[in-house]
């Protein structure tokens, strides 16, 4: 059993990392523990439990900024924001259901893994919302970057680098994020019965319209049938969903406009507030593939290539897929087998200008197959140098993203 080290303040954290560096003891960084099964499997001696760095430190709604301990559970943050009619606009995903974890996802974890939900296409990713942070590097040095204001170009933008670094550069313990007003009204227009190709065309047409679509996803019939929203299961066919958010009159006007545009394509249905919330949470958290033992790929690619990629993969292997981000994000389930069909998925994703991450697979597959798309050699070398600049002895989440990083 791995030993857990649990610092209660920044000094402790610095001392633990000093100790880890001096004796080269690799550490797995944990906030809430919900993402243990994500990323490459690591060989770490100890767990560095940051759960003490929890709680909201500063929140002024009219400044649109919130500062909190990195291990603050997302549900707590979202509850406090909701009281003031605000939200994390990047719609952080909680992959607990697909990973079989009941532990609570944290703000720091969502940022460290740059996990963004359906609104990413309109509001940006987690990385776009991190304004500043405090962290301890693998040099056992407490440092900071960014600030607590929404507009800042002072020095290198380390917020971007730390977001999506999967804990391999520094242990984040405090973060300041940009928050945004929640929409007064949310509606979802459903176009029923399209195939993936037709859906991707329709979604991109909607995104190119001035109707300010904040979510665009496609579920084939078999996956739509797994929804907890009866309006979706009752359709009995595929659904192409377009989310509209805003003040009441505007949301209604834009919904009618979209219905009119797409009614020639098929039967149109509409979800109102509560069902919309539930449906988009299902998409955000990849619920169509929850309680499923297959390996799961998360593929990011140019939006219009989404449907073509699915077709090409299905020509080669058995797979099931749904689409978010107007085609720019493909969730693909395949039989785990020996390698989760990594060579096929990777090659085809790359050919379409995208990259594939093995989001869910048994540990032995995640040890045998690169979890993240291998990098071009020059970028891999640069990444290694960046890792060295923060964590020269590789004690922080070593190998979580790439071997040697």
């Amino acid at each position: 059993m791995e030993e857990t080290l649990k610092p209660s303040n920044v000094n402790d954290l610095v001392q633990i990392i000093e100790w880890a560096v001096a004796g080269v003891h690799p550490l797995e960084i944990v906030g809430g523990g919900s993402k243990h099964a994500l990323g490459r499997r690591m060989q770490t001696e100890r767990t560095l439990d940051l759960s003490a760095f929890s709680g909201i430190k500063e929140y002024q709604p009219e400044e649109l900024v919130l500062t909190a301990g990195a291990a603050t559970p997302l549900v707590d943050i979202e509850a406090v924001l909701a009281e003031k009619g605000q939200m994390l606009a990047f719609e952080p995903a909680d992959y607990g259901a697909i990973l079989g974890s009941t532990l609570r996802a944290t703000l720091g974890g969502a940022i460290a893994c740059n996990l963004s939900g359906p609104r990413r296409i309109k509001a940006g990713a987690a990385r776009d919302h991190l304004l500043g942070f405090h962290a301890v590097s693998g040099r056992a040095e407490a440092f900071k970057s960014g600030g607590k204001v929404v507009k800042n170009v002072t020095g290198y933008d380390l917020c971007k680098l730390l977001a999506g670094s999967w804990g391999t550069l520094a242990a984040l313990h405090e973060v300041s994020v940009k928050v945004m007003p929640s929409a007064e009204k949310i509606r979802t227009v459903l176009i029923c019965g399209l195939d993936a190709e037709g859906a991707v065309v329709a979604m991109n047409q909607a995104m190119a319209s001035s109707h300010d679509v904040s979510g665009a996803a496609y579920l084939p019939a078999a996956l739509a049938a797994r929804s907890g929203v009866s309006y979706i299961t009752d359709v009995g066919a595929s659904v192409t969903a377009l989310r509209i958010e805003g003040i009441g009159l505007s949301a209604e006007a834009r919904c009618s406009a979209l219905r009119e545009i797409f009614s020639p394509l098929g039967y149109i249905e509409e979800l109102h507030g509560k069902n919309s919330h539930q449906f988009w949470r299902e998409i955000r958290d990849v619920m169509p593939f929850a309680g499923d033992s297959r390996a799961l790929w998360r593929i990011s690619l140019p939006p219009t290539a989404g449907a073509r990629l699915i077709t090409r993969i299905k020509e080669t292997i058995a797979a099931e897929a749904f689409v978010d981000w107007a085609g720019g994000l493909v969730w693909l389930a395949v039989v785990a087998g020996e390698d989760a069909s990594a060579p096929v998925v990777r090659e085809l994703a790359k050919a379409e200008g995208g990259h594939a991450t093995l989001l869910r697979a048994p540990g032995d597959i995640r040890a045998a197959v690169p979890v993240f798309q291998p990098l071009a050699p020059a970028i891999a070398e640069l990444s290694t140098r960046l890792k060295e600049s923060f964590d020269p002895t590789c004690v922080l989440n070593p190998g979580r993203m790439y071997a040697g990083v």
């Binding site: 001392q15 000093e18 040095e141 002072t154 020095g155 290198y156 929640s182 970028i379 990444s383």
Partner: protein, 495 residues
């Protein structure tokens, strides 16, 4: 401004180096005569001037790569330059350095409407991108006030903002990919047309790195459909306090305007004299609030903002009834800098960000500084995101006045940091705010940033002397200073 001392060995080889560069880019694209070099001696921070050793204008990525590889071999420093409109001296030449101009990279390579992306060369002007797609109903959102001239490559280097970034983000939030040449000539392609890139977010790191990590040779930007309607309100207030409260109330009401600009009395008067935008001269400050989106939404939000303004005791309120009137509201704001230029022989634009709720207090303290230094100040403010632009008016022909202006400017920026803000919201650090970096960051923070520089450019050849007040050698920065081989806290909870 103290810059790294020039290397005489390099200066003495100037002709040989010029010859080497001519072999790469051709005779016509290397400049070494005084008249040509003169055009490059400063950017838009014209208080600082330095003639470059040479100027080279490569024509494609291959040439940039060869130039950088050559310069690394020869140990020659490089200063990349876009349109030279930067306001922090990021493109200030080095006496022993080569200014690499990207002006020949002036083509839009592809507009991919279906994926809402455009691939452009770095020398293309910001506004040109939007103009090229205007007929199709698209635009590129970040709009720095120099957008008619500033280049997209420069925007990437500085992470430029503009009046619409509260709603639409800065440059960094609107980029999808870049092609970049490293100091040794290696060509990297980062990102593409997909939303999220793989690996470390190098795109985010490079954006705003002020030309110190690489030379950008291609940019893929995200483009957006144009909002169907835009309408602006011009609101006068009896005090800065009322205006500041109105800004907070608009945002607290859940409204994110496309633009939310504040001007104080001196700025109002200066611009009104300059262009007759119709601003209320009796107001202590005005807000321009622009709302865009579907027609029905804009109409409703105009109504709501009007109510909020009245509850903040607005002394006047006008709503634009036509596109021409909306443009007229903006005319004054957009003329603020040239208007200030008529009040005094010189003006100095500051650029700090503050938490919005400290606005009235900060403006009052700037007024105190103005009296103390006997220098007039006009304030324009991207109020929505807290980005303050005090314009200090001065006369550089009066001995000591530039120095007094710089000292006062430094105090304003320190004030921004003191109230919880930052040194620069959109203009960058460059040479201008370099020596103030210690106000915001301690030595450990700055050393970690410099280690990143070392990961890209170990020899400190790319735009050295900018951003960091002290240049540390990479070998020194790389050393690990850690003591403590024991877990020294028996009381630490472990399980």
């Amino acid at each position: 401004m103290r810059m790294p001392p020039p290397d005489n060995a390099i200066l003495s080889r100037r002709d040989t180096i010029a010859e080497g560069l001519r072999r790469i880019v051709g005779e016509a694209h290397v400049m070494d005569d005084e008249a040509s070099l003169k055009a490059y001696e400063t950017d838009a921070l014209s208080a600082y001037r330095q003639m470059p050793m040479l100027v080279v204008l490569p024509g494609d990525t291959g040439e940039v790569s060869s130039v950088l590889a050559f310069c690394k071999r020869e140990g020659v420093k490089i200063v990349p330059r876009g349109a030279g409109t930067g306001l922090s001296g990021g493109a200030l030449p080095l006496e022993d350095g080569i200014t690499v101009g990207l002006g020949r990279f002036n083509r839009i390579l592809e507009i991919d409407y279906a994926n809402r992306a455009a691939v452009v060369q770095p020398g293309v002007a910001n506004l040109t991108i939007s103009q090229a797609m205007d007929a199709a109903g698209f635009y590129y959102a970040p709009d720095p006030s120099s957008q008619i001239a500033c280049s997209i490559g420069g925007n990437v280097a500085e992470n430029s903002g503009g009046v619409h970034c509260l709603k639409y983000g800065l440059t960094t939030n609107n980029l999808l990919g870049v092609e970049m040449v490293m100091m040794g000539g290696e060509i990297l392609r980062i990102g593409g047309k997909q939303f999220d890139s793989d690996g470390y977010d190098l795109l985010g790191l490079i954006t705003g790195s002020e030309g110190m990590l690489g030379v950008i040779t291609e940019v893929t930007v995200r483009i957006l459909p144009k909002p169907p309607v835009a309408q602006a309100l011009l609101i006068g207030f009896p005090s800065n306090d009322n205006a500041g409260r109105c800004v907070a109330d608009i945002i607290a009401a859940g409204i994110i305007p496309a633009g939310l600009e504040l001007m104080d009395k001196p700025a109002i008067h200066a611009t009104e004299d300059f262009c007759n935008a119709g601003y209320p001269l009796d107001a202590e400050s005005i807000l321009i609030c622009e709302l865009d989106g579907p027609e029905v939404e804009v109409a409703e939000l105009v109504h709501r903002v009007g109510d909020i303004a009245r509850s903040c005791e607005a002394s006047s309120l006008r709503v634009s009834e036509s596109e021409a009137e909306r443009q007229k509201f903006w005319l004054g704001r957009k003329s603020a800098f040239p208007a200030a230029g008529r009040l005094a022989p010189d003006y100095y634009v500051m650029d700090g960000t503050i938490p919005r709720h400290r606005l009235a207090e900060v403006l009052a303290r700037i007024t105190d500084l103005s009296k103390e230094y006997e220098l007039q100040v006009a304030n324009v403010f991207h109020a929505g995101d807290g980005n303050l632009h005090p314009l200090i008016l001065f006369d550089s022909n009066v001995p000591g006045e530039l120095e007094r202006t710089e000292e006062m400017g430094g105090k304003i920026l320190k004030l921004c940091v003191e109230v919880g803000g930052v040194l620069t919201g959109e203009h960058g650090v460059g040479v201008e705010k370099r020596d103030l970096m210690g106000e915001m960051f301690n030595e450990i923070d700055l050393k970690q940033q410099q280690r990143i520089k070392c990961a890209f450019d170990e020899g400190h050849l790319l735009n050295p002397g900018k951003v960091f007040p002290i240049l540390h050698r990479c070998a020194e920065l790389g050393r690990l200073h850690v003591h403590g081989g024991e877990l020294p806290f028996p009381d630490l909870p472990r399980f």
